[in-house]
Amino acid sequence: MTTATVQAQKLAAEQLFSRKRLFAFGLPTLALAYLLYIFFAFDVLGLTSRASLDNARTLVADSYSYKTHVSRDNRSGTVTVAIEGERKGTYPEGTAPDWVSLGEDTVIDLGNGHVVKYADEEIHYDIPGYGLITANPGRSGVATTFPDGPLPDWINASKNRVTITTDEGRLTITRNRTEVLRYFAGWELFFFTLDSPFHGRSFTDIVGLAVSSDQLEPGQSNLSAMWEDFINNAMWRHGEVFWAIFETILMAFLGTLGAAIVALPMGFLAARNFTPLRSVRFAFRRVFDFLRGVDALIWTIVLARAFGPGPLTGALAILLTDSGTFGKMFSEALENVDKKQIEGVQSTGAKPVQRYRFGVIPQITPVLLSQILYYLESNTRSATIIGAITGGGIGLLLTQAMITQKDWEEVTYYIILVILMVMIMDWLSGILRRRLIAGGEPTKRGKSRFAGAGLKRYLENAPWAR
C-alpha cells in the first residue's frame, strides 16, 4: 500500500468523522432551536397569565370529593339536605344524614367540634379556638356578632352576605337563605341514589342482601332490583354511559371492518402484479390518497350534514378514511406476495378465482388481519374523538360533562372508562393477533406461516402502527 492511498484513506476517514460530529451536534441543536421557536410562537410566557389556577383547583378537588348542602329558606324555615345541591341528590323530607339532626333546631355537626345551629331566628356557628358567631338574617340584612378582635381573612362579611370558610365546611348566610356545605372524599351516590333501598348499606350488607331471599322490593329479587337501581342511577346514569361506550366500540368495529371489506377488492385493483393496466392502478391509488388525505375530520363534517349526528356518521367517517389506508396497505401487501405459491396452485389446473382463493388469500390473511386488528384498537380511540365532534358515544358525554364545567367527577369517571376501554381493546386485539398469526403460539409475529420472504420483509419494515 502506498503512502498516497493511506493518506487518502485517512483524509476520507477524517471527513467522515467530522461529518458525523457535525450531524451529532447539529441535530440536537436544530431540535432545540425549533423548540425555542415554538416557545415564542405559542406564547408560552403569556400562558402563565392566562392559566387559571382556580379552575385547576376546582377540577382536582371536584374529581375526588363532593359536597353536601344543608340549606334553609330563612322566610319559611324549611330545611333541605341535598348532595351536590342537586334535585336528584336531595334527601326525602324529614330525613338527613347522621351528622345533621333535624327538629325544632337544626344542628349540623361539621366535625372537629365545628357545630352550626339553625335556631328559630338565629344562626349559631361555634368554631373551636375562635368562638361563637351569631347571625340574624332579616329584612334589613344579616346582623352578625363576631367574637372580639379583628375579623380573620376566612370570614367575609358585608351587610347582606356573610361567608365563613373553614377546613370543615363553608357557611353562607344571605337575607333569604342560609347554607352549609360539608365536603366528603369520594364519588357521591355512585352505586345507589337516595331513593334506592340499597343506599347507605355496607358492602357486606349488600352481598348478604343479594343472596338472601327476603325481598326489599316486593316481587323482585334483590339482585335484579340492585342492578336496576344501579343502571338507572339518576346521578351517574350508568346505563347511558355503558350504552355510549358500546356505541363507541360499535363505531370502531363497523368503521374498521367495513373499510377492510371495501378496501380488499380495491387493493387487488391497485396492485402491480394483479392489475396490469397502469391507468387503473393509478386511478385507484389516487382514490386511496384522496380518501386518506381528506381525513376523518372533514369526512365527519360532510357526513354529519347528510346523516345527522350519531354513531352511524362516525362509523362511516372511519370507514371512508380507513378504506384509503387499508387500500394502500393491502395493495402493498399484495405486491409482496410470493409468486411460487400461485404458480403451484395454477399447475394443478386451478382457475383464476381458485388461484386467488388458494394461492393469494392464505398468504396475505395474516398481514391483513393483523393490520385490521391494529386499526380496530386505534379506531376505538378515534371513535371517541369523532364522537365528540359528531355527537355520539362516550366522546359526546365527555364533552357535555366538560362544558358544564362543574361535574368533574363525571368527567373523571368517563376518562377512566375510556382508558379502560382502549386498554381492553388493545389487549384483546393483541391476543387475537397472536392467535391468528402465529397459529396459537405466543411467538414473535409471523415466523412459520409466511412462505414469502418479501412479505416477511414487508411485515418487518412496514410499521403500520398508528
Binding site: 392566562r50 364533552t399 375510556v418 402502527a465
Partner: protein, 288 residues
C-alpha cells in the same frame, strides 16, 4: 410394512382428511355467517341510534359538498386571498404537530430505554414504565386537550401537550421494540470503560437505532397533523378552529371553508408523501 401404508390405511386417511376439510369449511362458513350477522346487525343498530337514517341521507351526501363548491366557485376570485389568510393558522397546526412529535419522541426515547430488558437503568421498574406507556397510549388526545383548555385557556399549547402525551406512549412502545433488537456489544464495551448509563445509551444504543426511531417518528408526525387539525376543531387553535368558525357561520362563509379544506387536504397529502419517501430511504439505507 407398517399399518398406515396399507391400502386400508390410505383410504382411512383419505376419509379422515375429507372429514376434516368438511369440518373446516363448516367452521369457516359459520364464522362468515356470524361476521355478516354482526356487521348487518351493528349497522342497523347504528342506523337506529343516528339522528338521520342512512337511506334517507344517502341521496343528500353530495348536497353539502356541492353547496360548498358552488359557493367557492362563485367567489373564486377570493380564494387565493383566503388561502393566504389561513396560512398562519395552517402553520400553527403543523407546528403543534411538529412540536408534539418532537417532545413526545424525546420522552418516548427515555421511557423506551427504561423499559427495555438489558438496557433499563432500573430493571425492576420495567413493568412500571411499560404500564405507564400503556396508559399514556390509551388516553385519547381530546381528553387531555379539553381538560387543559379548561385550565390553561384555549390556544395551541393544550393541544401540543395532549398530542405529545399520547405520542410519548405510542412511540415509546415502538421504540422499545426497536431497542430489543439493538446489539449489546457497544453497550458492554462502553460499560467496560466506565461509562455512565446515559453515556452508554447515547453513545452505544441511540446511533444503532436512530434510523428506526426517525422512521417511526415521521409516521407519527403524519398522524399528529390530523390529530392537531381535529383538536383545533374543539377549541385548541390552528386551522381546525378556523374551520369550525367558518362552518358554524354556515352559508356565506363556505368559500372560506373550501379554502381550509383545500389547505388541509394538500398539507396532509404533502406530508404523507414526503414522509413516506423519507421513510423508504431510511429503511432502504438500513438494508444495505
Amino acid at each position: 410394512m407398517s399399518e398406515s401404508a396399507s391400502p386400508n390405511g390410505i383410504s382411512q386417511i383419505r376419509v379422515d382428511y375429507l372429514a376434516q376439510t368438511r369440518r373446516k369449511r363448516m367452521y369457516g362458513g359459520i364464522l362468515l355467517l356470524l361476521f355478516v350477522a354482526l356487521m348487518v346487525g351493528g349497522f342497523d343498530l347504528a342506523d337506529q341510534r343516528n339522528a338521520g337514517g342512512f337511506w334517507d341521507g344517502l341521496h343528500r351526501v353530495f348536497d353539502f359538498p356541492a353547496e360548498v363548491l358552488s359557493e367557492a366557485a362563485e367567489k373564486l376570485a377570493l380564494l387565493p386571498g383566503h388561502l393566504i389568510h389561513f396560512a398562519p393558522a395552517l402553520l400553527e397546526t403543523v407546528n403543534i404537530a411538529g412540536a408534539a412529535t418532537l417532545a413526545g419522541a424525546l420522552i418516548a426515547i427515555v421511557l423506551s430505554l427504561l423499559s427495555t430488558r438489558g438496557l433499563a437503568r432500573w430493571p425492576r421498574l420495567i413493568p412500571v414504565f411499560r404500564r405507564v406507556m400503556d396508559i399514556m397510549r390509551a388516553v385519547p388526545e381530546i381528553v387531555i386537550a379539553l381538560v387543559l383548555i379548561f385550565v390553561l385557556g384555549g390556544g395551541p399549547v393544550p393541544a401540543m401537550i395532549a398530542i405529545a402525551f399520547h405520542t410519548a406512549g405510542a412511540l415509546g412502545k415502538l421504540f422499545s421494540e426497536v431497542n430489543e433488537n439493538a446489539d449489546l456489544k457497544p453497550v458492554e464495551g462502553l460499560a467496560s470503560v466506565g461509562a455512565s448509563w446515559s453515556q452508554r445509551m447515547v453513545l452505544g444504543v441511540i446511533p444503532q437505532v436512530s434510523p428506526n426511531y426517525l422512521s417511526y417518528a415521521l409516521l407519527r408526525f403524519e398522524i399528529n397533523i390530523r390529530a392537531s387539525a381535529i383538536l383545533g376543531f374543539v377549541g385548541a387553535g390552528g386551522i381546525g378552529y378556523e374551520l369550525k368558525n367558518a362552518m358554524s357561520w354556515g352559508q356565506g362563509k363556505y368559500d372560506e371553508a373550501a379554502a381550509i379544506f383545500t389547505l388541509l387536504f394538500l398539507t396532509i397529502v404533502a406530508v404523507d408523501q414526503a414522509s413516506s419517501a423519507l421513510r423508504h430511504k431510511l429503511t432502504e439505507g438500513r438494508a444495505q
